[in-house]
């Protein structure tokens, strides 16, 4: 018997008990659908997270002070002058911005809003890939001339000024007031908590408001992805020498963050996938159970086939094939359902449903494998029947 004939025989037998075949294959359908959708949602989510992280710039790195237990910050830890030096002597560093942050209440003509206020420099717009909706970002002159200017986000602008044009308006921060020179596009990233708004002022203004003579972190961006590690290392070593504090500074790149996020997501995905895989196992046991019933019910058919010249291997292959076809059908339906499920979830969560071709290939091979594995025992039971005993069975 060739494959085509085996297929015909298997399909005829599956058709002869439609409801049972459907119920049997349902276990496989659910198992495969669960695995496919979990993998697709996971892969989509991961791709989306990576895409979002990349928005920040893959060349990005952050330098911060590695405080030991009991240590407190010293004004000399990180200085604006460090940045000027590093930018001059490290060619791998393309942009570098100081960052100081604090919570502040901003007041406008129409309302008020508490934001995270960042003291920084002109470079931050490049380092963080900030998108400007109106006006401009902070520049060198704002800093050197000590201008009282502020850059806010679109949502903040709405809260502070309602429908009024924000550019040129005054924002009151504590006892000082600054002029809005730029509005940043609202970040639609899922990573961004939009209830938390940021506003940007110059370092000098920040110093005036808070009295801080040091900076919290340094945001840098390397000339290329490959240069990130060198840029980080050299920045660190310059800081260590300049402040005579070996091991006092830490640096992490976006690349490293992405890798660790990737690793965590990978493990989470694997665990959920394994749990989904268990349902496939349960489905397989269902198939085996029904195949055993089927062999018992069709003992007479087996006897007739043997009397007509079927060899044991013919019977074995027939039942094995039936089990595989049953599981493959479940696999196909499950893949469609799983992809559909992933698609719906992806639509709701706004991320791409990612079903790679190898996921589908694996799902197919796996469902065929389940059919083979769980069909083997029943098929073997069928093939081992003695023709005369099989014929005598009613």
């Amino acid at each position: 018997m060739n494959i085509r004939e085996l297929m015909v025989v298997a399909l005829a037998s599956i058709r002869s008990s439609k409801l049972r075949s459907f119920l049997t294959t349902l276990g496989i359908v659910i198992g495969i659908a669960a695995v496919i959708s979990v993998v697709a949602i996971g892969q989509g989510g991961k791709a989306m997270l990576m895409q979002e992280l990349e928005k920040f710039g893959t060349n990005l790195f952050v330098v911060y002070v590695n405080y030991q237990e009991g240590e407190t910050s010293r004004p000399s830890d990180l200085q604006v002058s460090d940045i000027t030096l590093i930018k001059n002597v490290v060619p791998e560093v393309k942009y570098m911005a100081p960052v100081c942050y604090t919570q502040m209440k901003l007041r406008g003509s129409q309302g008020q809003k508490t934001v995270q206020l960042l003291g920084t420099s002109a470079d931050l717009v490049h380092v963080n890939n900030l998108e400007i909706a109106q006006g401009r970002f902070l520049n060198e002159e704002d800093e050197s001339a000590g201008r009282q200017v502020i850059v806010i986000q679109e949502d903040t602008a709405k809260e502070l000024f309602g429908s009024e044009k924000p550019l040129g308006q005054r924002v009151v921060i504590g006892s000082t007031s600054s002029m809005v020179v730029g509005v940043l596009k609202q970040d639609t990233s899922v990573l961004n908590d939009n209830s938390r708004q940021s506003a940007y002022i110059t370092m000098s203004l920040m110093r005036n408001m808070t009295g801080w003579t040091y900076i919290h972190q340094i945001y840098g961006s390397a000339t290329s992805k490959e240069a990130v590690d060198t840029a980080m290392e050299r920045t660190k070593s310059i800081l260590e020498r300049r402040h005579n504090a070996p091991g006092h500074y830490e640096a992490r790149s976006m690349e490293q963050e992405m890798q660790s996020a990737n690793k965590i997501l990978g493990i989470v995905g694997l665990v959920i996938g394994l749990i989904a895989g268990i349902s496939l196992l349960v489905g397989g046991i269902g198939v085996m159970n029904i195949m055993l019933v089927s062999v018992t019910e069709r003992t007479r058919e087996i006897g007739i086939r043997m009397a007509l010249g079927a060899r044991r291997q013919d019977i074995l292959i027939q039942f094995l094939f039936e089990s595989i076809v049953l599981c493959l059908m479940g696999g196909i339906i499950g893949t469609i359902l799983g992809y559909g499920g992933a698609y719906v979830v992806a639509k709701i969560a706004h991320w791409p449903p990612l079903v790679s071709w190898w996921t589908i290939v694996i799902a197919f091979l796996f469902s065929a494998g389940v059919g083979l594995f769980f069909g083997l025992y029943p098929a073997n039971q069928a093939a081992r029947l003695k023709p005369i005993e099989a014929l005598r069975r009613e």
């Binding site: 018997m1 004939e5 005829a12 037998s13 002869s16 007479r300 058919e301 007739i304 086939r305 043997m306 009397a307 007509l308 010249g309 079927a310 060899r311 044991r312 013919d314 003695k386 023709p387 005369i388 014929l391």
Partner: protein, 244 residues
């Protein structure tokens, strides 16, 4: 063609052993039409199963076409059942979810005959059985006589030298029984060896020779001097029906 010597079959069902055949010896030559008779429990069905290689003897020798059967392996059994023996059963044993045509094709499928060739042969055989207009029907859509003719067509699929029929008329009325016996007699005329197991004397009288079994022993081996002619009986029945 068939040479049997001291053939024995014992069923061991745990606590009790049943001696179904207690040493049979006989020969059947090519082209013979033999009826095997006996009451139920006489061992005739057991003998049939042994002759058809559906079961193996406990002792004794069975030589089929110069081959000692006990020396063969299971896969040889399958090949012989497939190509050299055609089975006809009392309850037809057609596969219910296959059409008449597909049922007849089955032995050829196991023999590895290509689809086109076996479809052609199956159609030819069904035509010979007068079932050309029924070939796409399923067994439950056919009468007993029609089903038995499908089964005979199937038994002839691989052109076997021997037809083994186990109570082939047991489930049929007298008229269709005659039809079946007529087919067997015609096949026998063409040279096919026919072995029919039956408990009906008038059926057995169509054969050229009758082996009578009792309690697992051969008690009589008779040549039938004037076998009944099923074809003649049928045509005279038709005439009677016509005259009324």
């Amino acid at each position: 063609m068939i040479a049997i010597n001291d053939l024995q079959k014992t069923y061991d069902t745990g606590s009790i052993t049943v001696e179904a055949l207690r040493g049979l010896s006989f020969n059947i030559n090519k082209g013979e039409f033999v009826a095997i008779m006996g009451a139920s429990g006489s061992g005739k069905s057991t003998l049939m199963n042994l002759l058809g290689l559906l079961d193996v003897a406990s002792a004794g020798t069975y030589i089929l076409n110069q081959t000692e059967v006990s020396a063969l392996e299971e896969k040889d059994f399958a090949r012989i059942r497939n190509k050299e023996i055609g089975f006809v059963f009392q309850t037809f044993n057609l596969l219910p979810h296959l059409t008449a045509l597909h049922n007849v094709e089955l032995p050829m499928m196991y023999a590895g005959v290509k689809l086109a060739a076996r479809r052609e042969r199956a159609t030819l055989l069904l035509e010979r059985m007068g079932l050309i207009d029924r070939m796409h029907h399923y067994p439950n859509e056919l009468s007993g006589g029609q089903n038995q003719r499908v089964a005979i067509a199937r038994s002839l699929a691989n052109n076997p030298a021997i037809i083994l029929a186990d109570e082939p008329t047991g489930a049929l009325d007298s008229h269709t029984s005659l039809e079946v016996m007529d087919i067997f007699q015609q096949l026998n005329l063409d040279g096919t060896t026919i072995i029919v197991v039956t408990h009906e004397e008038n059926i057995a009288q169509h054969a050229g020779r009758i082996l009578r079994l009792s309690d697992g022993l051969l008690i009589m081996d008779d040549i039938v001097q004037e076998p009944l002619d099923a074809g003649q009986a049928l045509s005279s029945l038709r005439k009677e029906a016509g005259s009324i």
